[in-house]
């Protein structure tokens, strides 16, 4: 597992797995889209609008997951002095931002026909909007410092401070009355979704994860290279 913390090991590993990951993600996307558009049934209430879920939910999960991993790497980088954490944070923040944006856009496309509004300021939607802005701030911070050592550490601190938003996003629907419905799939109870709709959701989630990993590999590799060339 050293490739998760060591840049040169990561480069080796990335060369092995990049192409397979990319191919798998393309295949998964093909199957997933086929499932979600043709092979999955209409919802008993929402009709075919429910198909937006197959994009909305995976992107939301990945937006949260990306931030959680960034938080983890920030702790690793600051407390255990593992510089790969900084590389990871710089490279991955835009990916998380894009996932959040996809989640927000698909969510409002879903909300308009179902709820009757593009956007409301309930706890879930507000906290996701804040998550998006936090991602943007991370990206802008990465662009606006001249001194690299200060920049990456300050960004890591900011990520840690911003991580208070994560549990708020996740549990806002359970803690408070929101227009957004509570979690469908949670660890504690049986998912309240039919298997025929669960399958495309899982396939699409893995497709999103794979494409996320593929882009992350590319971005981390470029980040490593640009750091090396900065020294020379």
């Amino acid at each position: 597992m050293k490739f998760l913390v060591n840049p040169s090991k990561f480069n080796e590993m990335a060369d092995y797995i990049f192409k397979p990951v990319l191919i798998i993600s393309v295949i998964l996307f093909a199957i997933g889209l086929l499932f979600s558009f043709y092979l999955s049934p209409d919802d008993y209430q929402q009709g075919s609008t429910v198909r937006i879920m197959y994009v909305h939910v995976p992107s939301a999960w990945l937006a949260l997951l990306t931030y959680a991993i960034m938080t983890l790497y920030s702790i690793l980088a600051l407390a255990f002095r593992i510089p790969f954490g900084f590389i990871f944070n710089t490279a991955v923040a835009p990916i998380g931002a894009v996932f959040t944006l996809i989640c927000i856009i698909s969510g409002s496309l879903w909300g308009k026909p179902m709820w009757g509004t593009w956007w409301v300021w309930d706890a879930r939607l507000t906290s996701v909007a804040i998550l998006f802005i936090i991602y943007l701030i991370i990206i802008f911070m990465n662009l606006s410092f001249e001194n690299r050592i200060v920049r990456e550490k300050v960004v890591a601190i900011f990520i840690l401070v911003g991580s208070v938003n994560l549990p708020i996003v996740k549990f806002s629907v359970d803690w408070w009355n929101t227009l957004h419905q509570p979690a469908t799939i949670s660890k504690l109870s049986k998912p309240s979704i039919d298997p025929s709709m669960m399958t495309p959701l899982i396939i699409m989630t893995f497709a999103f994860i794979m494409i996320g990993i593929a882009i992350a590999i590319l971005r981390i590799k470029t980040e490593i290279i640009s750091r090396k060339s900065n020294l020379g």
């Binding site: 049934p41 209430q45 009757g116 803690w175 227009l179 419905q181 039919d194």
Partner: protein, 146 residues
């Protein structure tokens, strides 16, 4: 107050403060960050007339009345209390009896709520339309899903 002593003091203080803060927040937020009130909450408190609020609940069965093509009358309930609502405008697709909804507006008098916006709220259950029919036939439907 050596620098190390300051550090130790900070660590202790931080732990104590964060713990008490989290308790304080969790204990108090439950009712207050709500996007909407429930009808029974409205029943208990005295909400002022003409103050804009949101109410969330289910559209009561057999309460929906179409007054004209764009004006409606229905009741919002949470099975303990219900509120009579009037609304002029376009209802969202998902809006139907027995379905969750959040309405925004103000009380025009003590019992009648005039909604300016109606949002449909769907639950966390997803299932194919065909299965619902099966479930209804077997009578399993009402037990598990509201």
């Amino acid at each position: 107050m050596s620098l190390r002593f300051q550090r130790l003091l900070f660590i202790l203080l931080t732990l104590v403060i964060i713990l008490s803060a989290v308790l304080l927040i969790l204990y108090n937020t439950r009712e207050n960050v709500s996007y909407f009130y429930t009808p029974s909450e409205i029943d208990k408190s005295d909400i002022k007339i003409n103050k804009i609020i949101r109410i969330g609940g289910f559209v009561e069965n057999n309460s929906f009345n179409k007054i004209s093509s764009s004006s409606f009358k229905f009741k919002i309930t949470d099975e303990k209390a219900s509120i009579l609502v009037t609304f002029k405008g376009i209802l969202p697709d998902l809006f139907r009896e027995g379905q969750g909804a959040v309405i925004e507006g103000a009380f025009v008098d003590k019992n009648i709520f005039n909604a300016t916006n109606v949002f449909a709220k769907h639950d966390e259950n997803y299932m194919p339309a065909s299965i619902k029919e099966d479930l209804k036939d077997t009578g399993y439907w009402n037990k598990k899903y509201k």
